[in-house]
Symmetry: C4
Subunit: 215 residues, 4 copies
Amino acid sequence: MSAVPLTAEQDREAEAVAEVIAAGRAAALRHWVPATSGNFSVRIDEHRVAITRSGVDKGALTSADILIQPLDAPLLPRSSAEASLHVALYRRDPAIGAIFHVHAPASTVLSRIAGPGGLRLTGWELQKALPGITSHEQSIEVPVFANDQDTDRLAGLVEARFAAPIAGDGLLAPGYLLAGHGLYAWGASPREAARHLEALETLFEFELSYRRFTP
Amino acid sequence: MSAVPLTAEQDREAEAVAEVIAAGRAAALRHWVPATSGNFSVRIDEHRVAITRSGVDKGALTSADILIQPLDAPLLPRSSAEASLHVALYRRDPAIGAIFHVHAPASTVLSRIAGPGGLRLTGWELQKALPGITSHEQSIEVPVFANDQDTDRLAGLVEARFAAPIAGDGLLAPGYLLAGHGLYAWGASPREAARHLEALETLFEFELSYRRFTP
Amino acid sequence: MSAVPLTAEQDREAEAVAEVIAAGRAAALRHWVPATSGNFSVRIDEHRVAITRSGVDKGALTSADILIQPLDAPLLPRSSAEASLHVALYRRDPAIGAIFHVHAPASTVLSRIAGPGGLRLTGWELQKALPGITSHEQSIEVPVFANDQDTDRLAGLVEARFAAPIAGDGLLAPGYLLAGHGLYAWGASPREAARHLEALETLFEFELSYRRFTP
Amino acid sequence: MSAVPLTAEQDREAEAVAEVIAAGRAAALRHWVPATSGNFSVRIDEHRVAITRSGVDKGALTSADILIQPLDAPLLPRSSAEASLHVALYRRDPAIGAIFHVHAPASTVLSRIAGPGGLRLTGWELQKALPGITSHEQSIEVPVFANDQDTDRLAGLVEARFAAPIAGDGLLAPGYLLAGHGLYAWGASPREAARHLEALETLFEFELSYRRFTP
């Protein structure tokens, strides 16, 4: 009659699954993942992440919609093609604990206006919600990549860009834009990833509105 | 004392009515059906659909507001004039399981800017939420018809347009715009119709915002 | 121990008070009555209306915030100065059952762009939510008055405008704008007034968005 | 077993803490404090205020996140640097009972468009929600300061500006903007501060939208 107690490892896995579900719901409430778009992942440990499978409504996730993806194995069946972009980032940087991807409106529209040259934000106090920024006078660089259905190739470009800062760079944001597609943002924990996601989408909203008044 | 069990047919009818009610509520929460506008239908079977009657608040539907319309009979009393547009589509295409019509803001405004020439979307990843689209590089064609109070005439135009793709067409969207009026979208199931509706309104929102920055 | 039953008259008064409270809450949820702005009234009978008093949060109304204003008496203590505008309309037209006034954004901004010449809407299907409109091709006239702190003088202008249609007028809307101030809308019942209010604010939202793309 | 009754002073402290928590939650629901931005304070008495500590989600505050800051002492550990701006205002003006600071979109964007010369609002009825304004024809002056990470220096500028009205000033608003940063607003009570905050952000929203149509 008594339940077998969960191991610490099972506990952590269940916790990560719950964190993915909560992140999806929060984004859906903002209408940032329209029409089953977006994907969300949380690191379980050094070797595995919990990640949303392809094609599900992110506002109505259940644990059956979350895959446990090993970082050193091919993508599981039912994976989103974009899971490659998550896995590559987790492999490259062990400090990343969660990655959230949304099709939020300001991110999506500004990604196309900014073009592949990237986007530099400056003058907004809210930039200080991003790591390493202590003054609105510092600028922050948000890479913008051309969208590509070949997500492995795209993952390689992302990796190269974050490995090798460009001369004259401001600080690199904990995230990037895919043109006409949307925003990826990450952090050490789900809470931090959510804060970075909200900071970036809000900064883009400010920037879009501001640009309507400046030549 | 015991309830007479529902037949399978009655079950399916009740289910379709519940799906119409749910679709209306979801649209009302987004303010996409202002002032009793919009209409919603779900196919019951080969011969009948459940459809909202005229002039009711789509956020407060009850089963008394849903008509069971035979596809081979004239419109029932209390029908919306626009029921013709639903019936014509269900007759033409047996794969259509649900049709939702809203006066959502981006759809309504863009329908008037685009004009009767139609609208071509390209470059948005979210287009992949629409059937047949596997890359943002494919374009999708959304027909725009001049609004017309003669809904039978309008139904004929819609039918002709979807029956005969125009040379150079991208894929046709599972939906169309009426200029200054709003969006019709459909799918094989209520869930799919809702996904197409949200995808199209969101794409139009992106497009409107983007066009403010491009000549 | 037994409660004294309400008379029919007391019932109707309590019902009207509840309808005012519900209308205020619905408007507050849309952020249409910021910072205690707006006012709401419902006719009780030929001689009296229930109306919000001055300076209260319309999203948190209780019956203590609703005054029972006789139509043939001076404004009660604690009345809003704008109660004059309500009373004048109820006196002029016995068919009016409810009047709602909001500082909704599209109404407020468009009122200043349109100027005192008034506003003519045409080409929107949603116009059909307004009485007398059966086609998007009909135009509807929304009077715009210069704002005036002398609400008695303003009430006179409103009365004159609605009593004497101007040559070439389309149909007059069941409402008007005060420039830089907001929207008044009415109907035979609270439900109809709410529908007209939502139709007008939404039409103005469409119109504002559309005008950004047209010279 | 019986609880020790709270003193009147403890009661007032607990009440102020609850008011800070409520103000933070209300702002978070409007998305005015993205990514842990913003800060909120309520005066307890002549000598102390309750104020949010640095770096917490204002939509999920608990009493552990609220500091009891004496007005005549240095900032407590875990204080936001911006607590200086609150303390300076409470010291200068004993009538101030609550100060709320948000990164709301219209405030933040308009603060950068207006520039350090300040902002003059005129012609909006909603201005009457601000103290001393009895007509839309009066203008109201909202100071705009260049953002500065040195909050003590900034506090000095704010103090000087509100102590010495400039010739030709309209009435000074109960609040100010920091360019690219956001809005500070205050009032005699939390309720009044919330009303001024909502009035100002809404006026800025009107103003931004209106300016898109005027050269």
